[in-house]
């Protein structure tokens, strides 16, 4: 589904990604870990098409297409979803309005009829139950005045409504209480399917207790320094990141 080859990107003059290689196949869940500032969000953003980092080399293929040639919204409509580490507030724009506009823009792109207000509301209310969210949230402005945890939950609500092919969750677990973590994980797991793939950016094993990854990668200094199975996350939990820097086995690709 996704194939990243020797991807390099800079912010300003500063190289952040220094040659990322990663293959993600349909049905797989990849956990991406690594110390603060190692470039996890930068990678997520580059995949989604944000232009604050400039791609300086390498290639990304997504479902056979040159991903880097697509505009942000084209990537979204092709099924790439990014749950933001810091969700954005949009004053005055109702949550329900944004969701409907987004879903219909994506349906239109896929040649599906747009949902009318009734059908959409039925769908979104169903998903809100799944996310154990109060319906009043629908009519509030996007993330405005939401608590940190509510914002994260709202991101996952958007994900379950949009049903992406490739979901990139950037530290969705940070800021969630124990119960919320379960609910959010449940939402994420409900989307797991043989045609979907996920990249979970996280610092904590506890998320991976709920969402079992197939592969774990450690990003450090702009490169994937180690890749392995779920046991790698446990190892990190015990040992910290101090040792990964030594394993400069550049270009480790998930098996």
């Amino acid at each position: 589904m996704l194939s990243i080859k020797n991807l390099q990107a800079s912010v300003g003059d500063k190289p952040i990604l220094k040659g990322i290689n990663l293959d993600v196949k349909a049905g797989e869940v990849h956990a991406l870990m690594g110390p603060n500032g190692s470039g996890k969000s930068t990678l997520s953003n580059v995949l989604a098409g944000r232009e604050n980092a400039t791609v300086t080399g390498g290639s990304v293929t997504y479902q056979g297409k040159d991903l880097l040639a697509l505009a942000v919204e084209e990537r979204a409509r092709e099924g790439i979803f990014l749950a933001f580490q810091y969700p954005v507030e949009i004053p005055g724009v109702g949550n329900v309005y944004l969701l409907k506009a987004a879903l219909n823009a994506q349906r239109k792109h896929r040649g599906l009829p747009e949902l009318d207000a009734m059908d959409f509301l039925a769908l979104v209310k169903d998903k809100m139950k799944l996310m154990e969210m109060n319906e009043s949230m629908l009519y509030r402005a996007v993330n405005e005045g939401f608590s940190g945890g509510e914002k994260k939950r709202n991101e996952i609500l958007q994900m379950v409504v949009l049903e992406p092919n490739l979901a990139i969750l950037d530290e969705t677990d940070s800021g969630l209480d124990i119960d919320a973590l379960k609910v959010v994980s449940h939402g994420v797991n409900s989307l797991r399917s043989p045609d979907r793939a996920m990249i979970l950016v996280t610092h904590y094993q506890r998320l991976l207790d709920y969402i079992k990854p197939d592969f774990v990668h450690v990003l450090s200094d702009g490169r994937i320094q180690r890749s392995g199975g779920p046991e790698l996350a446990l190892e990190l939990e015990r040992e910290g990141y101090a040792w990964v820097g030594d394993a400069t086995n550049e270009g480790v690709v998930a098996p």
């Binding site: 098409g49 040639a69 919204e73 979204a76 724009v93 987004a102």
Partner: protein
């Protein structure tokens, strides 16, 4: 790399949609302004002596006045001798008696503008008075309104048929010497709308006027007077467009509102005069004086404006809160793009006890747009217990536009309270990225974010006009992606 840049730089340009010109023969007087011009206009309109005298008084005062220079707008001096002060579609010389007599070309123009003059008007329940260049050409629903005693007609007609009302109210809210442009308007005003709602009557439909400047080198000086008698209420909407021209055209209107005891007037404007091109050539100079007088106790005047057009806007719809417990409101969205300049705001003059006012101003600047909010809140010594709340927000798109806020607060009564909140924000690249990441186009995203920003004002507009205003903002902002 990406075919579509997601920067905000000028996400913001589309051809002006109302920029067509209608070819109709018009009856114009020669360029220039003198006492004779004033007499000529008055004679053409067959006005009573008192009105001519009133005009002449205004003209003499205007001669001694100078244009205001305190506003944050810049333009070359206007040559007042190079303007035509009266232009009327020729076939309308004797005034249309019914819609059938209106020049079909003119009706086509209104159709292009989307103005519901015929059946569409009935469907929408809107009564329309349409002012083309200087003359009011058609007023729909006059008969139906007359049944409940409402007078809704062109200003000229009111002068002919209701001179006593004109004499009683004209210039009582905006005196002839109020300011340079108001004085000029008083001297040469050509037409406009007149509304009188009798005691206790709630106007059964939205009243609406569309202004259009068509003729070249013509100034438009319309005069609107709305009177809501005791316990009456009315909602009035004004819309404006103009053809695209390279020269600037002057529009100096005056609107006076009078609300007696328990009366309510809601005045909404969607102003979309031609703003000039991207480099700032052409466009309307919109120098307008609008003021409401809450003359009676518990009266209520509310201004809502959506200002997206004009090269320069100089406009401060105000309320004088004289009656006890009277209420004044000002809800404004102003957008400046490219080289547009706007200096706009309001004045709330609290005189009566327990008077209340609310100001919500939303300014959006894009391109090289320049915008200033200028608001005065004055609590007179007599304004015991008066309250004002002001909220003034600016939204910037891109980094070459500017927004400034000039609040003036004068409090002479220590039981009065004044609250002022202000904010300036930029449409974040992060908001835009977020919306696009969810699948929206950049244009839809900007339009959505801007509309969200303006929501508090839009909800004050009558429903169908709120939709129009939203579209207008979308249009004014869309177009430069790619």
């Amino acid at each position: 790399m990406n075919s579509i840049p997601d920067t905000l730089e000028g996400l913001i340009s589309l051809e002006y949609r109302h920029g067509f010109e209608t070819s109709i023969e018009s009856d114009e007087i020669p360029k220039g302004l003198s006492e004779d011009t004033v007499r000529l206009i008055s004679a053409r309109k067959n006005e009573p002596e008192f009105l001519l005298e009133w005009r002449l008084e205004a003209y003499r005062r205007w001669l001694k006045m100078t244009p205001p220079t305190w506003a944050s707008v810049h333009y070359p001096p206007i040559d007042y001798q190079d303007i035509i002060y009266y232009s009327a579609p020729k076939s309308q010389k004797d005034g249309p008696k019914s819609l059938d007599e209106v020049d079909p070309e003119l009706l086509k123009t209104y159709e292009k503008l989307g103005i519901p003059l015929h059946e569409r008007a009935i469907l929408a329940g809107v009564a329309v008075d349409a002012v083309f260049d200087s003359v009011s050409v058609a007023t729909t629903f006059k008969d139906k309104l007359a049944e409940v005693g409402i007078i809704f007609c062109s200003f000229s007609e009111a002068v002919q048929h209701h001179p006593e009302l004109i004499k009683q109210y004209l210039g009582t809210v905006v005196p002839v010497q109020d300011n340079f442009y108001a004085a000029l308007n008083s001297a040469v005003f050509s037409d406009g709308s007149f509304v009188y709602i009798p005691p206790g009557v709630r106007c059964p439909m939205e009243l609406s006027t569309y202004f259009r400047i068509n003729a070249k080198n013509t100034g438009q000086f319309e005069r609107t007077l709305i009177i809501a008698d005791r316990g009456a209420s009315v909602s009035y909407l004004e819309g404006c467009t103009a053809p695209m021209r390279d020269e600037n055209q002057l529009h100096a209107a005056v609107v006076e509102l009078v609300a007696l005891e328990d009366a309510k007037i809601k005045y909404s404007t969607v102003q979309n005069w031609y703003p000039g091109d991207k480099e700032g050539r052409g466009g309307i100079y919109n120098f307008v004086t609008k003021r409401g007088d809450c003359r009676g106790a518990r009266s209520h005047i509310s201004w809502t404006q959506v200002e997206t057009g004009s090269a320069i806007t100089w406009k401060y719809p105000s309320v004088i809160l004289r009656g006890e417990d009277s209420v004044g409101e000002f809800y404004s969205v102003a957008l400046t793009n490219h080289r547009q300049q706007a200096d706009t705001g309001t004045k709330m003059i609290h005189v009566g006890r327990n008077t209340r006012s609310t100001i919500v101003s939303k300014g959006i600047s894009a391109g090289f747009g320049q915008q200033a909010y200028r608001g005065l809140v004055r609590m007179a010594r007599s304004a015991t217990g008066a309250r004002n709340h002001t909220q003034c927000d600016s939204l910037l798109l891109g980094d070459r536009c500017q927004a400034h806020t000039f609040p003036y607060i004068e409090v002479k009564n220590n039981t009065a309270t004044v609250e002022h909140e202000a904010s300036t924000s930029r449409i974040g690249e992060d908001q835009l990225f977020f919306c696009r990441q969810r699948g929206l186009s950049a244009e839809d995203a900007v339009s959505m974010i801007v509309n969200g920003f303006c929501k508090e004002v839009f909800k004050e507009l009558p429903m169908e006009f709120a939709v129009e205003a939203q579209k207008l903002l979308g249009v004014s902002l869309e177009g430069s992606v790619g």
